[in-house]
Amino acid sequence: MFDAVARNIGFLMGGFGVTLQLSFFALTGGIALGALVGLGRISKNKWIYRPITLYVNFIRNLPLLLVIFWFYFVMPIIAGRPLNPFLSAVIAFIIFEATYFGEIFRAGYQSISKDLSAAAYSTGMTYTQTARYILVPIAFRRMLPSLITQSIVTFQDTSLAFVIGLQEFVRRTSIVDNLEVRSIQLYGFVAIVFFIFCFIGSKISRHFEEKGRKTGLL
């Protein structure tokens, strides 16, 4: 039933490896930049707040596919030499996903009430202690379900690097399909692999959400 998949399993899984690499860089970069973007979105300084807000609203109104193309075209001009598609895809994903992660971080930061830090200070804690033991852990636990959900979305989004010829999972599958013409099993296989990973991820996200609700954190 999966004979064409079995014949090309090494090639296909190599593509899945590229997908995982792409996801890894997109997630670490996107979450790190997103944490800063979230800070910028709650900044009282308008010279920080306004440009960051403009950047977030601008990117969130564009299709990811177009952003991938745009960076694919603009990166060689900035670098002054042809770049490999992997690098331009990673940069496009980081810039794009950081706006989505940024909004999650903003909500997380804003969910911390002034009373909470005041209460921590009143016990004699310093600012660093308050942040380290009270604010950051609570904000993190509140954000965790959304962060996981957005990570799953990012993982799925990496398939769009297909369009600039990057040999990730879907691109390699379409290469195999062109030779084997076994579309049902090949695309079915990709769908199943993605489904397993994303389904487990969404269950983990839901677990933390339930846990947060039970402890009254959410």
């Binding site: 109104n61 564009l62 879907v170 049902i184 769908a191 489904f195």
Partner: protein, 238 residues
């Protein structure tokens, strides 16, 4: 340093490229609207099935949402386009493949089915936000289950979830760009096609970005009117 790049913004209005972008925009709007019609009604149905008293229907609806949400849209689109016709068997599949403009229909259908799973999730959240007392109050007036959902609960839930549905409606236009991968000549496809002909992909994609932004702002304008119209009095806006 590096190689110089000669900007040529003329590709945005020089013919035939300018008209290509507008044709692409028209197709983007068409895919978005048609996909939305499927997503809206199918999503309401799936979302409602998730809260019905019948176990098998609930199972079907939740399996549907899990499957469609946990597989990348690109993979879904490829599956329907390349494998879909074969599911109907050899001869019938070949006939389907001969349909003119098949990629457009598949794109609309795939986008609709995918977005429906997201609409269904919002629908479920809407039902959850209606208190159980309301359900009992409706049933106590002598309405049947069907009447309760049709005349009270679904219209009520829809009014509650209008803001997230607006976001989905915006997203469907953005997601329609994925249709370019099966050769539907929508806006992103056209900007790429201009690059293939002129090597000025940067200007073309920047132009396409501007068009998407205008489209997005227009949709937000229109939807804010809709939101105000359907807002439940006494409830806080977003």
């Amino acid at each position: 340093m590096g190689f110089a790049y000669d900007f040529d913004w003329g590709v945005l209005w020089r013919q035939p490229y300018g008209i290509w972008l507008l044709q692409g925009l028209w197709l983007t709007i068409k895919i978005g609207f048609l996909g939305w019609i499927i997503a809206f009604f199918w999503g309401i149905l799936i979302g409602t099935l998730r809260v019905t008293p019948w176990r098998w229907l609930r199972f079907f609806a939740s399996a549907y949402t899990e499957i469609f949400r946990n597989i990348p849209f690109l993979v879904q689109l490829f599956f329907w386009y390349y494998a879909g016709p074969m599911l109907f068997g050899e001869t019938f599949g070949r006939q389907i493949n001969q349909i003119v403009g098949l990629n457009f229909y598949v794109a609309v259908l795939a986008l609709g089915l995918y977005t429906a799973s997201r609409v269904a999730e919002h629908m479920r959240a809407g039902f959850a936000s209606i208190s159980p007392d309301q359900y009992q109050a409706v049933l106590s007036t002598g309405m049947t289950q069907y009447q309760m959902y049709r005349y009270v609960i679904i219209p009520y839930a829809l009014r509650i979830i209008t803001p997230p549905l607006t976001t989905e409606f915006l997203t469907i236009f953005k997601n329609s760009s994925v249709a370019m991968t099966i050769g539907v000549a929508e806006l992103t496809f056209m900007s790429y096609r201009i690059d293939a002909e002129t090597f000025h992909g940067l200007e073309a994609t920047t132009g396409a970005m501007a068009i998407y932004l205008v489209l997005g702002l227009t949709v937000v304008r229109v939807m804010s009117i809709v939101e105000n119209r359907f807002k439940i009095p006494g409830m806080v806006g977003r």
